[in-house]
Amino acid sequence: MPLYIAKRLAIGVGTIWAAFTLTFLLVHSTDNSPGAVRLGMGATPEEVEVENERLGWNRPLLTQYADDLGKMVRLDFGQSLINRGDVRDQLSDRLPVTASISVLATLLAGIVGTALGVVAAVRGRGTAKAVNAFSGFSLSIPSFWLGVVLVYFFAIRLDLLPATGYSRFSEGVGSWLQSLALPVITLAIGGAAVVARMAASGMREALAREYITTLRAIGTPEWRIRYIHALRAASLPVVGALGVQFIVLFGGSVIIENLFALPGIGQAALFGATGNDFPILIGVVVMSTAVVVITNLVLDLLTAVLDPKLRTR
């Protein structure tokens, strides 16, 4: 087990390194320079050159890479080129928002998806078809379209939920949940569709196993067979799928945050992209990757707990 964790950790560190390197290369592969971004349109080439010199942009690429990598290890992403603020501080302000959305969406997708999957597997063909149709439909609609429609109905027409804005957890769980309800639902529906499919096939497989027949033969109540024994067996691939789902939903929150005006990482990524704010871009990528890596590590451990075969490793 410790070896297993160490291995996962090593992969996680590798992932963060890869994210950093990829973004670093992207940023350095352009004609644009941080000096030009920082000084804006009015600056002369000479001024831009001076500013680039000051920012260390003209040093050899490898020197900059080593330097930036060292800083990244200390979680120092430098200053934003646009608002001059410390990138780490700004992003750590925003991280809880994105994390809340994607974690809640993943949970919701997991719960709703599993429920749908189980229902599809246990009930008749009609239900299975309906669930299948639902998941096919939700997989193919863009989340941003869904978001617009949900806002229109639930926030504007029915006035049930807020359309925009984020209320901090510390300001009350109720308003926190309310402010996240629509974005989370928007994001979760696609994920629920995927989970539903996996849960349904896992459930069907589990119910077809021999030991289930044995349990039936010895008179175990049907609900116990379905919801205790079969579900436990089916939950393993679902938990595995949630890891992938989390990555997907985390990425999806970029669009959703802008739709719902939530001050999260995705919004920062968008601002960074439109403003060519290189430090923000690198910071966003590295920190998002770190979140994804940590979440996946947790899910891996959870899988290990659920799966006795892995525990011995």
């Binding site: 646009i82 608002n83 709703v112 639902f134 504007i156 804005g165 300001e171 308003s175 005006a261």
Partner: protein, 542 residues
């Protein structure tokens, strides 16, 4: 598919119900619809400073009122220095900084931290005195030395609000003299003097930053340093997204501000901004786009203020760039061929067609002008024929990126009615765009003329970038002097002259729109027709 979409709807409702019930679990009235929420709750958002210094008579603020404002962009993106921004951003900075003079919601410019001011006889000097009880957080005073230190940075390029004090500009300052501990004298560079010079020192231009920021602007990049009625709660704020301002009870004018907490949420998406007001998350949304106007208007949550005029501005008055423009008949024909009502109805709902220069609310507005130059394509064709241009001609309008919808509409009208071809050569940066005024015949723009429309004529229209040819018009120059002095008849005459000479082909007068929640605030106090919301005058309902 129909079936599955119904299923989806059902599912969405169920999910929403689950979450709402979860949300209701700990707070019963949270889910109640309507606007009361944002005003009534957050009792824990009491001001952090103790209010022992100032009296307890700050009656309206005792309830812990919160005002939530949705902004279309970050009003303080690069630094918290108000002098680096334009008037448009002042609603945000006005709460953090004291300004020498301010614009009220009546549109008047009045002293704020100035107690009294005077202009000398020749109008070359402006002397004003400051309140003596103004302090910053670190205890340093806001005195004459500091005001001088602020104004002495006027030549710094980054401090955009000071651009009018620069060399050759309409408000060039020769010197700032400290004439007493709390008394400052400004020497204007113009020999004729400036009669209402104090108006230059209003709002964002007159905002005074603290001693550290005045010494080194970069200190303002991470935190504001102002003596205003509110302090920025840096911990509760997220740069670029949310700014939380807490009232500072010790401020000399604290009683004038109704809210204990003001939250600015940056919502760049136009629809999301409108949604925020409609669903009650924001009490006030600054800048509403044309697409959202109908929606907000039907819910009774729209405020608007006029004063923005769109026009085709003729740069080539001599015909040396496009010979056809040498004839005043051509310019009139172009004006008569524009169906302004259709443009307004289709593309600028809520705007008002106009051919003239002065906004409806400004002195100098002349309703007869709109009748004289009303849409008349037949007359337009006649005019063109009269100068031998019945086959039309070609003219360029340089655009940055893509032409606007209005420009596309005008292109079509000129083509169909007159056979005049309007081309849109594109440039990719503003430098090129600005340079094009030296070579092209027309520009099309919306001008926020604000409070001093005549000054704009004296500046850009006759002697600035709109007249790089140096064209002269007796009709205009003869009335410009008295008009600048505020003579109503001269203003009307100036307006007529601009249109009759065909220098100014008005299109429509439009509005600045703001959305608000009528259940929580009384209305949107715009500062005159400047379209800037006066935050001090935003009042809660009841």
């Amino acid at each position: 598919m129909k079936q599955s979409s119904r299923l989806l709807r059902l599912l969405a409702v169920l999910l929403a119900l689950v979450l709402v019930t979860a949300a209701c679990g700990d707070n019963d009235d949270d889910a109640s619809p309507g606007a009361g929420d944002s005003v009534a709750d957050s009792g824990d958002a009491a001001p952090s400073g103790d209010d022992s210094g100032d009296s307890g008579d700050a009656a309206p603020s005792s309830g812990g009122l919160t005002l939530t404002v949705a902004l279309e962009s970050d009003y303080s993106p690069a630094t918290y220095n108000p002098q680096a921004y334009a008037l448009q951003q002042f609603p945000f900075h006005s709460l953090l900084y004291d300004s020498l003079f301010v614009t009220t919601s009546d549109g008047e410019i009045v002293p704020n931290i100035v107690t009294e001011f005077a202009t000398n006889e020749e109008a070359t000097q402006l002397t004003f005195s400051l309140r003596e009880d103004l302090v910053f957080d670190d205890g340093s005073p806001l005195d004459a030395e500091l005001v001088k230190a602020n104004l002495d940075r006027r030549l710094e390029e980054d401090l955009r609000s000071y651009s009018l004090f620069g060399e050759g500009q309409e408000g060039e300052i020769a010197d700032v003299v400290v004439s007493g501990p709390y008394e400052v004298t400004i020497h204007w560079a113009f020999e004729q003097g400036i009669a209402n010079g104090h108006e230059f020192l209003a709002d964002n231009v007159g905002a005074i930053v603290g001693p550290n920021g005045a010494a080194d602007s970069t200190t303002l990049e991470t935190a504001p340093e102002g003596s205003g009625p509110y302090r920025l709660d840096l911990d509760a704020s997220t740069r670029g997204a949310t700014y939380v301002l807490r009232k500072w009870a010790d401020h000399w004018n604290a009683d004038a501000y109704a809210y204990d907490t003001i939250i600015f949420n940056i919502i760049t998406d136009a629809q999301a901004r409108a949604n925020a007001v409609l669903s009650g998350e924001a009490d006030l949304a600054i800048k509403i786009e044309p697409n959202q106007i109908n929606q907000l208007e039907s819910e009774g949550a729209l405020a608007k203020i006029g004063g923005t005029v769109a026009a085709v501005n003729v740069l080539d008055k001599t015909g040396e760039r496009v010979p056809a423009f040498g004839f005043v008949e051509t310019r009139h024909a172009l004006s008569l061929a524009i169906d302004r009502q259709t443009i307004v109805d289709a593309l600028r709902p809520g705007a008002r067609p106009t051919v003239q220069y002065f906004p409806e609310q400004a002195v100098g507005f002349d309703p007869t002008l709109n009748e004289r130059y009303a849409y008349d394509p037949d007359r337009a064709r006649e005019l063109l024929a009269s100068v031998g241009l019945e086959d039309g001609f070609e003219v360029d309008k340089v655009v940055l990126g893509e032409p606007t919808d209005v420009e596309l509409a005008i292109q079509r009208m000129w083509q169909e009615e007159l056979g005049v071809t309007l081309n849109f050569p594109a440039v990719t940066n503003t430098g090129e765009l600005f340079a094009s005024v030296n070579t092209t015949a027309i520009i099309i723009n919306e001008w926020g003329l604000g409070l001093r429309p005549a000054g704009f004529v004296a500046g850009p229209v006759t002697s600035g970038f709109m007249n790089t040819q140096g064209a002269e018009s007796e009709a205009i120059s003869s009335v410009l002097g008295p008009a600048l002095g505020g003579n109503p008849e001269a203003l009307v005459a100036l307006n007529n002259a601009l249109v009759d000479e065909g220098w100014w082909i008005g299109l429509y007068e439009t509005f600045t729109y703001a959305g608000y929640n009528p259940d929580s605030i009384q209305g949107v106090p715009f500062g005159g027709i400047s379209g800037i919301v006066v935050m001090a005058d935003v009042e809660p309902v009841g």
